[in-house]
């Protein structure tokens, strides 16, 4: 039978179905003896420590990969595992000769019942506390609650939904794919699947629950299709596709370190988008010819104070040194009311994406902007650094930012500190910037089109809204018209244009972007080999 859901993570897989046991683990023993009490108390606190450690490790790795919201859930789970009230309630029960694995489940259930009785939001927290109590209980019994931890045969995991703690418990190589009843492209399982490189189809709906007994599953995470107990033809087809994808990977590897040159002899620079300094080495291995977008937000998040100029200098110069002669474009801070910034008084905004963010906030906040610009200027002495400003809407903003940059350079000179030359560019991501491109071009050394935001603002379609997926499309005539206008203005002024949105890495968009006059493409590093291949075949 064929089912359709949301293709949440690309790739195909075929293999045996595995349905994790839902609900709570069954305690092995209900009672203990008087003499076991002290040892069991110790076992309980060890189990808490192990589970909390595992949860916080997963949280850290999610945070490192930029999945802030998911990391926050783990933070909450860690606190629940280590909760002092949970511990003391369990201790009372153990002293009453209840086994710790039964006691923790019972206490978890008490809290879950309390939460479930509140409102809809709190009812969802009931699942969180059951999940955490279940993990501690499973740890005490030396086994997994759902069976996911002990999965020994590579399988396609079928479930109603999968929590981050579920996917994190699966041993490497044991999950061939994920198929879930619930979920969207932005749910936990989708993000985890993409970061693990495992195909996933989510949001299949109740039809999937009817086929949970299936023995074998084939799925295509690109198109969102799922076949339950597929016939031999389908199995062969999927096996073939899977082999082809693997072979394509091998072919693409050969494109990593070639220059992308079209048949007309145009060299297209293929660069990487970086979210932190630690990604630099990896990006070079994928074949990045530079950094088209170095996001600086990572330096400012999850802390109680603003990063110092020196700390920023270290991060920027580390990337500049790793790339040597190759250009590194640093984007100044782009956060808004949707993210918390230490030491900056952010009002609660109705529409943070249309709010006080990017260059708007930087120009109003010298304590934020000047140390960043000084760090960039100093780091420029260690490599080929360029700077670009986000969310620019008109020439006044660009001129104001340039004036502050000049002032910072003068200050550094008078302090006798070394600084390097930096080209100054503008990120074209507001329709206003694209429309004013001719004026902006006179004051810029380059443009970089941020297609994700340009699409969102041009089509008035929230990029996180699943229902508006049709409009999250760089191929829309309105978006293409703005890109064309930007390229024409740049061409007239003799400056280069790059693209650093997702469109830069999409094989079907690359020929169109190049035809419009784009000369640099910057993308998530794993997309670089394919982009180079596409360019080479033009």
């Amino acid at each position: 039978m064929k089912l359709t859901g949301i293709g949440a993570s690309e790739g195909v897989a075929v293999g045996p179905a595995f349905v994790p046991a839902s609900g709570r683990p069954e305690p092995e023993r209900d009672r203990i003896t008087e003499g076991e009490v002290e040892a069991e108390l110790q076992r309980f606190s060890d189990a808490v420590e192990t589970v909390a450690g595992r949860l916080s490790e997963t949280g850290e790795s999610l945070r490192a990969s930029g999945s802030e919201d998911e990391a926050g859930i783990f933070e909450f789970h860690v606190e629940m595992a280590e909760d002092p009230e949970l511990a003391s309630a369990v201790e009372v029960r153990i002293r009453n000769l209840e086994s710790p694995e039964a006691a923790v489940l019972a206490v978890g259930e008490e809290y879950a019942a309390e939460f479930a009785a509140m409102d809809e939001y709190m009812a969802a927290r009931a699942d969180d506390v059951r999940d955490v109590a279940g993990q501690i209980s499973a740890q005490l019994m030396g086994r997994g609650g759902s069976g996911l931890e002990t999965l020994e045969i590579p399988s396609v995991v079928l479930a109603r939904s999968l929590a981050p703690s579920d996917t994190a418990r699966i041993k490497a190589g044991m999950a061939l794919g994920f198929v879930t009843v619930e979920g969207s492209r932005t749910s936990h399982v989708s993000i985890m699947a993409r970061s693990m490189g495992i195909p996933a189809v989510v949001g299949v709906g109740p039809a999937l629950e009817e086929v949970m007994a299936a023995k074998k599953i084939a799925l295509d995470g690109g198109e969102g299709s799922v076949f339950t107990d597929p016939d031999q033809d389908t199995v062969s087809r999927f096996e073939r596709m899977s082999t082809e994808l693997a072979q394509e990977g091998a072919v693409l590897d050969e494109f990593r370190h070639v220059e992308a040159i079209t048949s007309e002899g145009r060299h297209i620079e293929v660069a990487a988008n970086l979210g932190s300094a630690s990604e630099a080495e990896d990006a070079l291995e994928w074949g990045a010819e530079g950094v088209g977008l170095f996001r600086t937000e990572f330096l400012f998040m999850q802390r109680d104070d603003l990063p110092s100029e020196d700390e920023q200098y270290e991060a920027y110069s580390a990337v500049a040194r790793a790339f040597g002669e190759k250009p590194v474009i640093i984007r100044t801070l782009d956060v808004g009311g949707d993210k918390d910034l230490p030491g900056v008084d952010q009002a609660n905004e109705e529409n943070p994406f249309l709010g006080w963010r990017g260059i708007r906030m930087s120009l109003d906040t010298p304590d934020l902007f000047e140390p960043q610009l000084r760090a960039i200027l100093r780091a420029a002495a260690t490599g080929n650094i360029k700077v670009m400003f986000p969310m620019v809407a008109d020439v006044e903003e660009l001129e104001a930012a340039k004036a502050i940059l000049r002032e910072c350079r003068r200050e550094l000179e008078s302090e006798g500190k070394e600084s390097g030359e930096v080209e100054i560019g503008v990120m074209i991501e507001t329709p206003a910037a694209a429309i004013c491109a001719a004026e902006l071009a006179k004051e810029s050394a380059f443009f970089s089109i941020g297609t994700n935001d340009l699409i969102q603002y041009t089509l008035a379609a929230d990029r996180g809204n699943e229902r508006l997926r049709r409009l999250q499309n760089a191929d829309h005539p309105a978006v293409l018209a703005l890109i064309r206008q930007t390229c024409e203005a740049a061409d007239a002024a003799g400056i280069p244009v790059g693209v650093c949105g997702e469109a830069a890495g999409e094989p079907e968009m690359i020929p169109k972007l190049i035809a419009l006059g784009v000369t640099e493409l910057s993308m998530g590093a794993p997309s670089i080999p394919r982009a180079k291949k596409v360019v080479s075949e033009l």
Binding site: G72, E79, D83, Y121, M122, R125, N348
Partner: protein, 85 residues
Amino acid sequence: MAERETTVGPEEGIHGRPAAQFIKAAKRFSSQVVIVKGDREVNAKSVLKITGLARKGEKITIRAEGEDAEQAVETLAELISADEH
């Protein structure tokens, strides 16, 4: 003993991420800290107890007893009244 009345700031009340961050902050103080809401009084270092205790805009009292009580109520009252964490 120190105590302070404050208003819950986060949109969805005390839960999830804000709750976890509040707990982390509370654990940094050696004082015994409780949150009082109406006739309920709960351990402010227990995420299970404080979760769902109050909604945005509701008044709660933070009370602490111990060496760093003053500092604890001040820090925690400010934290819980902020809009975001």
